[in-house]
């Protein structure tokens, strides 16, 4: 059921990579920031994460704009290793800051759907999983629609397919790159707010999200938007089935095993071109 969230996190990475060529190893840490923001709003003001989402998403968007403008934009023509260095540095800064502010305790932030249960045939599902799935997948579909059928979407795809030609069309590439980056971060605001009751918060979880996002990114076929969403969904299902039928550590290995298997059978990814 978390598949739609993996899809969204991965789509952020895919969009940013295809228009800027940047790899952000601190990507998942912004989701951690979003989740801790929900925690802070919950403890201070008793706000339900589903409501603080309305604050967290725009906040993360602005954060994305600023981080892009002051850090990433300067790296756009730099060596890939420089970008990895910088973003790994950001990982340590963000994770340590979160630990200083919130301690390393494991916490969950409940939301109003958390206690409710839905029974579907033999399966019992928590309400927050259902809400996460519904919102996550509708946003995924909406984003895909935006990329295919709106002017902004066409601009994004144009830059991804040929940056120089996009410039000759009069597309303001710098502006679009900045918006896309901020959108990727804002998606983490959404994903983070939706999952505070499902995923236990701890300051060092960001890199795990990033790892999963990279798997989704590669598995979907590098740079393929639809493929990324599908890959996220497949990984989510694999994870859930692994936990259900195998369980424990072995169950947790299922999505990674599937990733390796898919790469062996289809090295270009689920929907990637050769």
């Amino acid at each position: 059921m978390l598949g739609s969230i993996y899809g969204l996190i991965g789509l952020g990475i895919t969009m940013v990579f295809s228009v800027t060529g940047l790899m952000n190893f601190a990507h998942g840490d912004f989701m951690a920031i979003a989740m801790y923001l929900c925690l802070a709003l919950y403890t201070r003001f008793n706000l339900d994460p589903y409501i603080s989402m309305l604050l967290v998403i725009p906040l993360l968007f602005v954060m994305g704009l600023l981080v892009y403008h002051f850090l990433f934009q300067r790296m756009i023509d730099a060596e890939l290793l420089m970008v990895i260095q910088m973003t790994l540095g950001m990982v340590f800064i963000i994770e340590s800051t979160l630990q200083i502010l919130f301690t390393a305790d494991y916490v969950n932030v409940p939301n109003f759907a958390y206690g409710s249960r839905f029974i579907m045939g033999p399966f019992v599902m928590s309400g927050s999983y259902l809400v996460t799935f519904l919102i996550g997948s509708s946003v995924g579909v909406a984003l895909y629609w935006m990329l295919q059928y709106t002017d902004l979407g066409r601009q994004i795809r144009a830059i991804a397919q040929n940056r120089e030609a996009a410039m000759l069309m009069g597309i303001q590439t710098h502006r679009v790159q900045m918006i896309v980056f901020a959108m990727g971060i804002a998606l983490l605001g959404l994903s983070g707010s939706l999952t505070t009751s499902i995923i236990t918060l701890q300051p060092y979880m960001g890199l795990d999200f990033t790892l999963f996002a990279f798997i989704v990114f590669v598995m979907g076929g590098v740079g393929n938007f639809l493929g990324t969403l599908v890959a996220g969904f497949v990984l989510g299902v694999a994870e859930a089935l692994g936990a259900l039928f195998i369980g424990g550590h072995m169950g947790g290995l299922v999505p990674y095993g599937l990733f390796v298997l898919i790469l062996i059978v289809r090295p270009q990814g689920i929907m990637g071109a050769r």
Binding site: D151, R154, Q155, R157, A158, Q161, N162, E164, A165, A166, M167, L168, M169, G170, I171, Q172, T173
Partner: protein, 235 residues
């Protein structure tokens, strides 16, 4: 004059690829820049479109200085380039490619009628409307690139080697279309290696050698000129 390039020197690092190049294009005129491989023709175009900043010199449109402007602002002003190698968007269909051409603020209000005109000019594109750009033949891709340029309602249409890699019959068709556009008043700046054809169809020409203007004048005179003949026509 509509477009003028004044003493442009540009290159990469300390190497100057074009040196002290000046040229002019009047409204409604068809001007050709000819020169061999590596003569600096594409560099000149990159400078005019703002993809590359010159070390010295200016580019003026109607006397207005474009040199410091970003590429999108130059497109807004109507200086439109159809790049070498066509550079169409391979995973977008023909219509999407064309719509992207007509995004600037001058062209946008007329986008539907311009699209009709482009389809009228290139009926093949209408037939292939929903086909991905990357699946078209070379000639069709060139038509698409020109059509995409026309969607921007250019005041100056710049074309970088549109005949490159095309069959002679396709080249003739492209030149016929350009001739028609020029007859209707389109200002054209063409860069070509296809010397005879481009001199025959244009009004004025410049010959670039090693990044500098070696010769310039009326196209008919240039065809007759011994130096052009020696350099390009193999006599």
């Amino acid at each position: 004059m509509l477009l003028s390039v004044e003493k442009i020197t540009a290159g990469y690092g300390t190497v100057a690829i074009i040196k002290d190049i000046s040229l002019e294009v009047n409204k409604g005129e068809w001007v050709v820049v000819i020169g061999g491989n590596g003569a600096g023709k594409s560099t000149l175009f990159r400078v005019i479109s703002g993809l590359m900043k010159p070390k010295t010199g200016k580019v003026l449109l109607d006397g207005y200085d474009l040199t410091a402007l970003p590429s999108h602002a130059i497109v807004e002003l109507g200086v439109i380039q159809v790049p070498e190698g066509r550079l169409i968007f391979p995973r977008m269909n023909v219509k999407e490619n064309l719509l992207l051409g007509g995004r600037n603020t001058r062209a946008k209000p007329h986008i539907a009628s311009t699209l009709e005109k482009v389809y009228h000019l290139f009926p093949k594109l209408k037939e292939r409307e929903t086909q991905e750009g990357g699946t078209l033949s070379g000639g069709e891709q060139q038509m698409l690139a020109i059509g995409r340029g026309l969607m921007a309602l250019p005041r100056v249409l710049m074309l970088d080697e549109p005949s490159l890699g095309l069959a002679p019959i396709m080249v003739a068709e492209i030149f016929k279309t350009l001739h028609m556009l020029n007859q209707e008043g389109m200002t054209i700046l063409l860069v070509e290696q296809n010397v005879v054809m481009s001199l025959k169809s244009s009004q004025r020409g410049y010959v670039i050698e090693n990044g500098q203007i070696a010769l310039s004048g009326n196209s008919q005179d240039l065809i007759q000129d011994e130096r052009t003949k020696r350099a390009y026509l193999g006599t």
